[in-house]
């Protein structure tokens, strides 16, 4: 069975909503939650997730809120914190590690902490029994893929195209997937631009998909009530989970 990872920006429209949303996603078959940490300058993200980040911050999101609500979420579903490196660096990685362990969060996804810069931190994180997810991009050479995946764990985040989240781009990933599989048995999940329409195609040859913008677009739709948002996002998640396993 192929896996579905759902990205949700923490704290928008509210912290309670984030908890309810994620518990509903668990019910429809989402395997892992990428709990997004709002950041002022999310450079790997497209306009949809950027907007959700800024709205969460405008409505008063603090990192302490992340720590608090994770205790309601992570014991129920496999959860990773996804965020830019500066808050980790500024508040202290040790604080994030101890809070993650307290709330049963399993690891971190940090898109602006590539392999080389991650070196001083990766072993510290892993020695605490947590994961730091590795990224592979379509611009990577076979040599670089080998270097990165040799120390991978949990899953490899394969970026579907050169670009930012939520764009309508696609690239032929088969040669890259083949290279990754040559060097590791770690599952490969593909993210960026995965939605109801593209999920089946993007899931080819990989072990799972990561979906963000397709959900966050609904999250930002101000015509919908909170419960309508939860219903709609959950039904999209259900549909995607079915499609990738057809």
């Amino acid at each position: 069975m192929k896996k579905l990872v759902a990205y949700i920006t923490t704290g928008y429209p509210s912290l309670d909503f984030t908890v309810d949303m994620i518990l509903s996603l668990k019910e429809v078959g989402v395997d892992t939650i990428e709990l997004g940490i709002p950041f002022s300058d999310p450079v790997a993200d497209g306009p949809i997730i950027e907007k959700a980040n800024l709205k969460a911050l405008q409505s008063g999101f603090k990192i302490q809120n992340l720590f608090d609500i994770s205790k309601e979420i992570a014991p129920q579903i496999d959860t990773l914190w996804m965020g830019y490196f500066n808050p980790f660096y500024h508040i202290g990685l040790d604080k994030f590690i101890s809070e993650a362990k307290k709330s049963k969060v399993n690891g971190f996804i940090i898109p602006d902490l590539p392999f080389e810069e991650a070196q001083p931190y990766k072993s510290i994180i892993e020695n605490e029994g947590l994961n730091l997810i590795d990224f592979i991009a379509p611009t990577d050479s076979r040599e670089r893929i080998k270097k990165i995946v040799s120390s991978s764990n949990k899953f490899i985040y394969l970026v579907a195209y050169a670009g930012i989240t939520g764009a309508k781009h696609s690239e032929d990933l088969m040669p890259i997937i083949k290279s990754i599989k040559e060097f590791t048995n770690t599952p490969v999940y593909v993210g960026f631009g995965v939605n109801q329409a593209t999920a089946k195609e993007k899931a080819k040859g990989v072990d799972g998909v990561i979906v963000g913008s397709a959900f966050i677009k609904i999250l930002l739709d101000e015509r919908l009530t909170n419960s309508q948002k939860i219903d709609k996002i959950s039904s999209i998640a259900k549909e995607i989970k079915e499609k990738i396993n057809e």
């Binding site: 950041f39 002022s40 300058d41 999310p42 450079v43 790997a44 497209g46 950027e50 800024l54 911050l57 603090k62 990192i63 830019y84 490196f85 500066n86 808050p87 980790f88 660096y89 500024h90 508040i91 898109p111 602006d112 902490l113 590539p114 392999f115 080389e116 810069e117 990224f135 592979i136 991009a137 379509p138 611009t139 990577d140 050479s141 670089r144 970026v159 050169a162 670009g163 930012i164 764009a167 781009h169």
Partner: protein, 411 residues
């Protein structure tokens, strides 16, 4: 004495970063994985030309014939008399397009062309870097897109028009603080998407490795020339070298060749905005180490590590971060850093205009203003070199709104 027929070629310095771009704890490459192979390739490509006479000969041709280098070193006779010191201005304001930015856009465009790139992109604050990029794009037949915060588009409308006239497409960036920081976010997003055929001409000594080192190398022609010019006029080293700092390219450009001279004090002047207890751009004075735009450096940030908005009257200094080498030089106590407020900069803007007949850019006005902030004993009888990094033409509309006939006279 150096012969100006000599061609400027960068030299390795004791402050060069390691192969991953770290200046001590600062610098590095904190970017999405997609960009890592691109940056690694750029590092290798730049290392190939870094000390290559042929490459720098081509750059030199355009410096001499297109930019108008060497820029003059001008003895500012009237303010020197007023302050009882010898004040020399390095006239980067006389470069083609009006600032030091053209130095690195020429060299980077030649590099981009060599690498077979057809498109260049750039972020811009005051618009000087955008204009300098649009200019070299026109010269070398490259497609050009410029990212500029919406607030800066409004306060620098002349530069926006200049960029368009030169054939560039200008994107007005509406997110966040709508200034340089957000322009850089969008330029990075565009670059991640188009990295294979697009060269990103970063406008200062910031961003992921190799940019901070590469742009410092290129801009160091300023200090290389000035040192030699001053030697032939005065026969001495300056006592102090002063430059304004946003990202820090004109400052490192003039400091670099003096960093190993113990008798020379280099002073970087940050944008004090409305004052350090209010809104400002002093990432060194009031910030703390953090990660933004691909580098670890001093940043204005809150307790959660969210980036704060900077403020300065000058769009070119309105940035919450600073180049990583400056962060390193600060922590090593190699360079002195201080600040000048909007008000002090405006005073200096009028002062230099009326005393010397030179209208400085708002950015450079911060460096000029520092002359009046220094204690008398630190300035009297001293030889002082100031990087006049840009001219004030671009600031005329904004200045006209702030300064009335009365206030000009009062100042």
């Amino acid at each position: 004495m150096k012969d100006y027929k000599d061609i400027y070629i960068p030299k390795a310095t004791p402050h060069d970063p390691d192969s991953n771009g770290h200046f001590g704890i600062f610098g590095g490459r904190f970017v999405p994985e997609t960009l890592m192979p691109i940056l690694e390739q750029l590092r290798v490509d730049y290392e190939k030309v870094r000390f290559d006479r042929e490459f720098w000969s081509e750059v030199d041709y355009y410096y001499k014939n297109f930019v108008g280098r060497p820029s003059p070193l001008y003895y500012a006779q009237n303010i020197s008399k007023e302050l009882n010191a010898k004040i020399y201005l390095k006239r980067e304001d006389l470069n083609h397009t009006g600032a030091h930015k053209i130095n690195h856009t020429v060299a980077q465009a030649i590099l981009a062309k060599r690498l077979g790139k057809k498109r260049v992109i750039a972020e811009t604050g005051a618009g000087q870097h955008g204009v300098a990029t649009a200019t070299v794009a026109a010269l070398f037949g490259l497609e050009c897109e410029i990212f500029m915060g919406a607030k800066d588009v409004a306060r620098q409308e002349l530069n926006v028009f200049r960029m368009k006239l030169l054939g560039a497409k200008v994107h007005s960036v509406e997110s966040g603080s709508k200034t340089l920081k957000d322009a850089m976010n969008d330029a990075i997003r565009h670059w991640v998407t188009n990295a294979r055929d697009t060269y990103y001409i970063i406008g200062t000594v910031a961003g992921p490795h190799p940019y901070p080192m590469m742009i410092r190398d290129i801009q160091s022609i300023i200090g290389w020339e000035a040192k030699s010019q001053l030697k032939s006029i005065e026969g001495v080293l300056p006592d102090k070298v002063i430059a304004c700092i946003g990202g820090g390219s004109n400052a490192l450009g003039i400091f670099n060749h003096f960093l190993e001279d113990d008798s020379v004090e280099c002073i970087g002047v940050e944008a004090g905005g409305l004052g350090l207890d209010s809104k400002h751009g002093c990432s060194l004075a009031k910030g703390s180490p953090g990660i933004l735009h691909g580098q670890l450096s001093y940043l204005l940030q809150d307790e959660d590590g969210q980036i704060l908005e900077a403020h300065s009257i000058s769009a070119g200094l309105d940035y919450p971060g600073i180049g990583p080498e400056h962060a390193y030089l600060k922590d090593k106590n190699i360079v002195t850093y201080d600040y000048i407020t909007d008000e002090q900069a405006l005073d200096a803007f009028v002062w230099l205009s009326q005393k010397e007949g030179i209208i400085p850019a708002f950015e450079s006005s911060h460096a000029i203003a520092y002359l009046k902030k220094m204690r008398r004993e630190d300035i009297e009888g001293k030889v002082i070199l100031i990087n006049l990094s840009g001219r004030g033409d671009k600031d005329m509309i904004q200045a006209k709104d702030i300064l009335t006939d009365v206030t000009i006279k009062q100042k």
